[in-house]
Amino acid sequence: MLLHMHQISKSYGPVTANDQVSIELHQGDILAIVGENGAGKSTLMKILYGLEQPDNGTIYLNDRQVVFHRPSDAMAQGIGMVQQHFMLFGSMTVAENVVYRKETRKGLLMDHRRNQALVKELSQRYHLPVDPQAVVDDCPVGLQQRIEILKILYQDAHIIIFDEPSAVLTPLEVEDLLKTMEQLSRLGKSIILITHKLREVMAVAHRVVVMRDGRVISVSDTSETSLEKMSYEMVGRQIPTRHMTPPTVGTPLLEVTGLSLKGEPGTITLHDIHLQLRQGEIVGIAGVSGNGQSELIRCLTGLQAYDTGQVMLNGTDVTQASAGMIREAGLAHIPEDRYAWGSAPAATLAENALVGAEGRHPFSRSGILNLRQVNAHAAHLIQDYDVKAASLFQQMASLSGGNAQKLIVAREIARKTPVLIACEPTRGIDIGAMEYIHGQLIEKRDQGDGVLLVSSELSEIMDLCDRIYVMFEGRLNGEFIRGEVDEKTLGLYMLGGNRHAPQTALG
């Protein structure tokens, strides 16, 4: 057997993240690990990669016991990890990133030409096309992930860990990634895949481990399990199927006319965006990420100035208004990056739950906070959204990623504003919680509010949205009504519609 993690236990203070977890991996295997937020998946992988030390338990590699004190130990034994937050040197080239620590040199000097040739060769061998001379910061997310994989392959890893690799990718990039995994497994590499997307598991994994509350619930071959079985084991209950009533659309809440943004060279520019969101509907913006969605949302939420265009929100002209004014005018916003924008990781949960409302009744009066109300509100959010937390006064950073996301979603939905902009609201969230959040979005729509949903998850868009815009290269490229479009057409439009032939993310 290639790898055997035996009876691994790990706790953080009172929290038991892993409780006697055992997994096995054979050469050429693709092993999926699934489980709800906070189940202990990432912790297990951190232990395998030498980022954390287990309290108990042993790791066997090729039947020999190994101890990893740090990632380099794991790497020396051929274990590599593609982390969720890419570990790249942004201002350096692709080649420099890949060869880092195994550079070819002429004496003390870098041999750039040789390094680039090596990377080119590697990328051809594994069918992962890249331009070795491109600067990483200029590459789209999918390509950055590819660079990450190349980096690990260059280090001669034979076990590759992916922690939620598809959370940031577009459907097409996901397809590419899954193909890559299969290819790698055919070439003899072994893969551990952590994901919340059970379809991916069914598509590529050979075996699947389900975890709950730090324990292994089941291990099975994918051929012997099913989506329903897995999700039942993960969450411990049946996920109900949802019914959406047809929308009762009212007056426009958000109207964007002629919005343009000239970016700096090498960044996205927005061209003449027109869009409308009305009462009682969920409107989706689909698109390969990196096509201007982030910029558009930053413009709409007052986090970025734009060059031309007008934005009306709930009858108020909020053109070029500040984030605070736009919030006052009736907008809530679930940002795409929960740690960069959505929270202050070092602040307490209570403080994180307050933002944007600190100036309002009942949380404050003439500038003086009512801490009792503030804390009670935070406690409600945590309870309603089942955020796994020990105290209101613990740091946001100590929540698992999914739980942090839940608190942010809770905060924004609870503002009860006429308009909600939700960007990737369920990224990194387990299916149980995702179901709940989707339910909340639909309820909001049914109450007559408008929701603008930005998601790179096509199924989420297809499931929830009454109307769908497709975004491509800074333009709104198409507009569709639910039921009048299939995933395939959308996918085509996301790649430039009928104007361009489909192309890979490499462009």
């Binding site: 740090r70 990632p71 890419f86 570990m87 790249l88 201002s91 880092y100 003390l108 000097l109 060279p265």
Partner: protein, 309 residues
Amino acid sequence: MNLSPEYLAVLANSTIRMTTPILLVTLAAALCTRVKLFNIALEGAMIAGAFFSIVANYYTGSIWLSVMAGAVSGMAVCGLVGFCVVHLKASAVVAGLAANTLMTATTTYLLSIIFNTKGVFTHPSLVSLPKITLPGVAGIPFIGTLFSGLTPLDYLAFILAGLLYVFLYKTVPGFRLRAVGINPEAARSLGTPVERWQLLTITFSGLLCGLGGCLLSMGTVTLFIQNITSGRGYIALAANTLGQSHPLGVLLSCGFFGFSQAVGNALQNTALKTQMTFSIPYAATIVALIAFHLYTQHKKKKAKEASLQ
């Protein structure tokens, strides 16, 4: 007063001498910035260098042992701060400032313990850094004066600026060092001992500071006097910002600082009072930083316009 070319050459020559200690320290600051460390302990490392080089000088009578003592003590100070900042996660600003006051007090204290004097120490037996006479250059009127009275450390400062440029941008270790600064987490994830790199870098930067200190205590006048650095370590921080932490940029920014200091000195013999002329380099630094910002913004705007056409 005669403003002959000879006088201007002397002015330029003494500006070079006044600038090289700052250049050495600014290179130190630039290196630390490259590994994402804010080293504000430059001043303290410089004082240590100045003091311990004199101590070694007195006891050994060897100039090279003195320079080594200065360099090593500078490294020790920066190493200590580096340990607190890198390994104990202390705030760089606080630990650095603390090291500065610590070294000011410690050197004054040791002065009284070792030499039993207060405030200043000098002795006829102390040797000073040798002055280099460039063969063939000394005779040339303007140039000869320009390069007169410079010590090996003065030349070394300029050579180091070039060497550091080659090191950072052309060599493998330099590449890895920059990588640590660009994304420490990424470097760590590939098994790079980031902390060790940072500690090594900041310690090496202490060597540069120590050399700067040697220049102060043995370059022109061979003595140690408390507060001999007079804030040069802080000037280096500003020069580093202005030079964008690039060895060659730092060379330019230090030159600029030296130039504005020279202008200030020249203005002393006018109706301007010295309180005014002494603030010129500081004000000029702010103005230069502002100008640099406006220039880069302008360039960005130009590029944006160009790209839209």
